[in-house]
Amino acid sequence: MPDISPDRLDGYLLVAGILFVAGVFAIISRRNAIGVLIGIELMLNAAALQFAAYGRFAPSAADPQGQTAAVFVVVVAAAEAAVALALFFAVYRTFRDVDLEATRELRS
């Protein structure tokens, strides 16, 4: 049983892992494109959480490398969400649906 006290790295990594697996599961199992997008967000946030946690427990805490990477991840996640939503709009205009099972053809 890992030690989940706030002073230890283990708890943060555990939460990040759960988030990541939840994201993967969402991506694989969801049929709705929005659900898949949320899964991707979960995975990105799991990665950001890991970066922040490693940054916090790094030997030289004065160097904010981990926190910087976490901020980058947040930025990438925002940009990715914007692009993905735009794509979903395009898909929806073509197929009248964002169900991934219904949009298997590359042309309508």
């Binding site: 993967v24 199992s29 298997r104």
Partner: protein, 682 residues
């Protein structure tokens, strides 16, 4: 134009006609164009013949086709008296046959196919005759085989005799040796082609041996050309001790040249239907009679004789003995079979085989006895008489609605007088009656054989005796043929009631060819290269006695005895039943070939391959309707297994890229995870 240019024209004009005729759908137009072109070729060939007959040779244009080290293979023409007269005969007969065929096939819907196939054959045959080297001869030799193949199978959709109701209803009483299941144009053409390949394999070996000998002797240039072969003949007459070493095998040059001679003769055995490869020629009668008349009687089958005559200097005495004996055996064997045939064309076919045997007897007599000239003379005269006989046979068959059974024909002389007397003239020429062409040439062949026998003695008497026996029978069976068709009462009134002479055009062709069956046109000028030996008189007396005995016997049996109400022929068949049966069964040669190769080795090989291929689970017979495929453990199983495995793999992997995003991602994660774990554990 020089003679060389003319020779090229004579050769290529028929080829041009063949090309043009392939585009024509109208039988009349195609026959007309082909006949006109062949007539032009005949005129050109005549000018060529006039220029060289009586001595002298012309070397036509020659082009090198392939350079192989020190020697070359070329294409060119060479004209001497033999080639020029032969070319003239081919062109003249081809013109006549085309005109005749326009009548013969006037109600055949496939007639438009005949002229181009026929012209193709004529071009190939002229190639054999006019070529200036053995290699080009071989190429054209194969092409005449193609022409023969096409024309034998002219009516390729005709069913096999065994399942043909017309054949079964009309077949002759004595047709016992015939394998009916295999008697169809489609099978006959295949048989002719395959059996010729057997001979041609020997021919190729001969050419190879000749090349080896030529290179060893240090010759270069066009080593297969006739000039070079004549020069190499020096080593045949004066055996050299020079040897050839190839992979540890030592052969003397002389032996190599003997092998070459025998190989070339092997090709001639196939093409000229000599024992034991003669069985294809009677089957080739499945083709149109007009095609048979020139291809399987007058010219193509004589190509073997022509080729041996061409390479004559290369034949040492031992090889000539083989040639003579083969010819003699064939001459007698085919004559005995011809005596008991009931099919009108089969008699002529075996007669052709027998006469070709006689030509080889002449060739086997050797140069000292004038064997080559005698054989070529007989080739020339036989070409006309046999072509004419076949055309007459075609007229009879056409007049009697396709019936060719000697037992049912009869008394046609009154209904078809022109055909009857034209065929009688051709017949007398074939028998060697004085004043007819065959008298001159047959006499020359027998004289050559006798001269050789007298000088060499011993075994050299064999071919002469066999040829004499064959000649005796020839007189008998040919007269039987003619008397059965044209004399006596009408045996089957319904069959012969509507018979009549052919149309004017066809009649003109027949009548124009008649003078060539007389000896006069041949003896003025030097058309026939006749030898004049010591043995001339005894041979002539022998030939006349044989003719008188054989012909007289046939006249008694088939003309005089029936008038007295006696059927001597049937009595003879009864009293010599075993012999009669053996001849009727074609001496079992057809059946032996069938048993040995078609059913024996061929069948066994097929079974072995089938076992290897199918694992013995399915029989060969099932292949023909094997729709269901099931895996077996051998080669076929492996091949099928690979195919089935690929199909399964494809079907299985197809679901991976069906456009389902979840599956893609799951696979991607699985792969990445495995890779990371594997990388981490490394």
């Amino acid at each position: 134009m020089t003679v060389g240019t003319v020779s090229v024209l004579v050769w290529l004009l028929p080829l041009f006609a063949a090309l043009v005729c392939t585009r024509l759908r109208s039988p009349g137009l195609a026959h007309g164009i082909a006949a006109v072109v062949m007539a032009i070729a005949t005129a050109l060939a005549a000018t060529m013949a006039i220029a060289v007959v009586g001595g002298g040779t012309v070397t036509g244009p020659h082009a090198t086709w392939l350079e192989l080290g020190t020697f070359t293979l070329g294409v060119g023409t060479y004209i001497d008296a033999m080639a020029a007269v032969m070319a003239l005969i081919v062109c003249a007969l081809a013109t006549g046959v085309l005109v005749f065929n326009a009548w013969y096939m006037h109600d055949d819907p496939q007639a438009a196919r005949f002229p181009w196939q026929f012209c193709l054959f004529a071009a190939a045959m002229l190639g054999v005759v006019l070529s200036d080297n053995l290699f080009l001869s071989f190429c054209c030799w194969e092409l005449v085989g193609l022409g023969s193949y096409l024309l034998i199978g002219f009516w390729f959709d005709k069913p096999a005799a065994a399942v043909d109701p017309t054949y079964q209803a009309n077949k002759g009483a004595g047709a016992r040796g015939v394998l009916e299941a295999q008697l169809s144009p489609a099978h006959a053409q295949l048989k002719a082609f395959v059996m010729n390949r057997v001979g041609d394999a020997g021919f190729l070996i001969g050419i190879g041996a000749l090349l080896v000998a030529a290179v060893t002797l240090g010759r270069s240039g066009d080593v297969l050309g006739w000039q070079n072969l004549q020069e190499m003949a020096h080593y045949v007459a004066n055996p050299t001790a020079m040897t050839i070493e190839q992979k540890g095998i030592w052969v003397t040059v002389s032996l190599c040249l003997t092998i070459a001679a025998l190989g070339i003769f092997c090709g001639a055995i196939g093409k000229s239907a000599q024992f034991p490869l003669h069985t294809w020629l009677p089957d080739a009668m499945q083709g149109p009679t007009t095609a048979s008349s020139i291809i399987h009687a007058a010219t193509m089958v004589a190509a073997g004789v022509f080729l041996v005559a061409r390479c004559y200097p290369l034949f040492p005495p031992e090889a000539l003995a083989v040639v003579g004996w083969t010819g003699g055996i064939t001459c007698l064997l085919a004559a005995t079979i011809a005596c008991v045939q009931w099919d009108l064309k089969a008699v002529l076919a075996y007669s052709t085989v027998s006469q070709l045997g006689l030509m080889f007897v002449g060739l086997g007599a050797g140069p000292a006895a004038g064997g080559k000239d005698a054989a070529i003379a007989h080739l020339f005269t036989h070409a006309f008489s046999k072509c004419l006989l076949f055309l007459c046979a075609g007229a009879v068959i056409h007049a009697c609605a396709g019936h060719q059974d000697l037992a049912r024909l009869g008394g046609l002389r009154k209904r078809m007088p022109v055909v009857a007397y034209v065929s009688l003239a051709a017949l007398l020429a074939l028998l060697g009656m004085p004043l007819f062409s065959g008298f001159v040439s047959k006499d020359a062949v027998l004289a050559a054989a006798l001269g050789n026998a007298q000088s060499a003695g011993g075994l050299a008497w064999g071919p002469f005796v066999l040829a004499c026996a064959g000649s005796l029978l020839t007189a008998a069976y040919m007269l039987r043929w003619w008397l059965r068709i044209f004399t006596g009462e009408e045996r089957d009134h319904d069959l012969t009631h509507y018979a009549h002479d052919p149309s004017t055009g066809a009649k003109v062709v027949l009548l124009l060819l008649v003078p060539m069956t007389l000896s006069l046109p041949w003896t003025i000028g030097a058309w026939l290269p006749l030898p004049h030996g010591e043995s001339h008189l005894p041979a002539m007396v022998t030939a006349l006695v044989l003719l008188a005995v054989g012909g007289g016997f046939a006249l008694w049996v088939f003309l005089l005895a029936p008038r007295g109400g006696r059927d001597v022929a049937a009595g003879l068949a009864r009293s010599a039943a075993p012999l009669h049966a053996a001849c009727g069964n074609l001496w079992g040669i057809d059946k032996a070939w069938d048993l040995l190769f078609t059913r024996g080795i061929g069948r066994v090989l097929a079974q072995v391959v089938a076992f290897f291929d199918l694992g013995g689970e399915r029989r060969l017979e099932q292949l023909e309707n094997a729709q269901e495929r099931r895996a077996s453990a051998s080669v076929d199983g492996v091949v099928d297994g690979i195919a089935a495995g690929c199909a399964h793999l494809g079907a299985g992997s197809a679901s991976l890229h069906a456009g389902r995003l979840g599956v893609y991602l799951a696979v991607a994660f699985a792969v990445v995870t495995v890779a990371l774990l594997w990388g981490g554990l490394w």
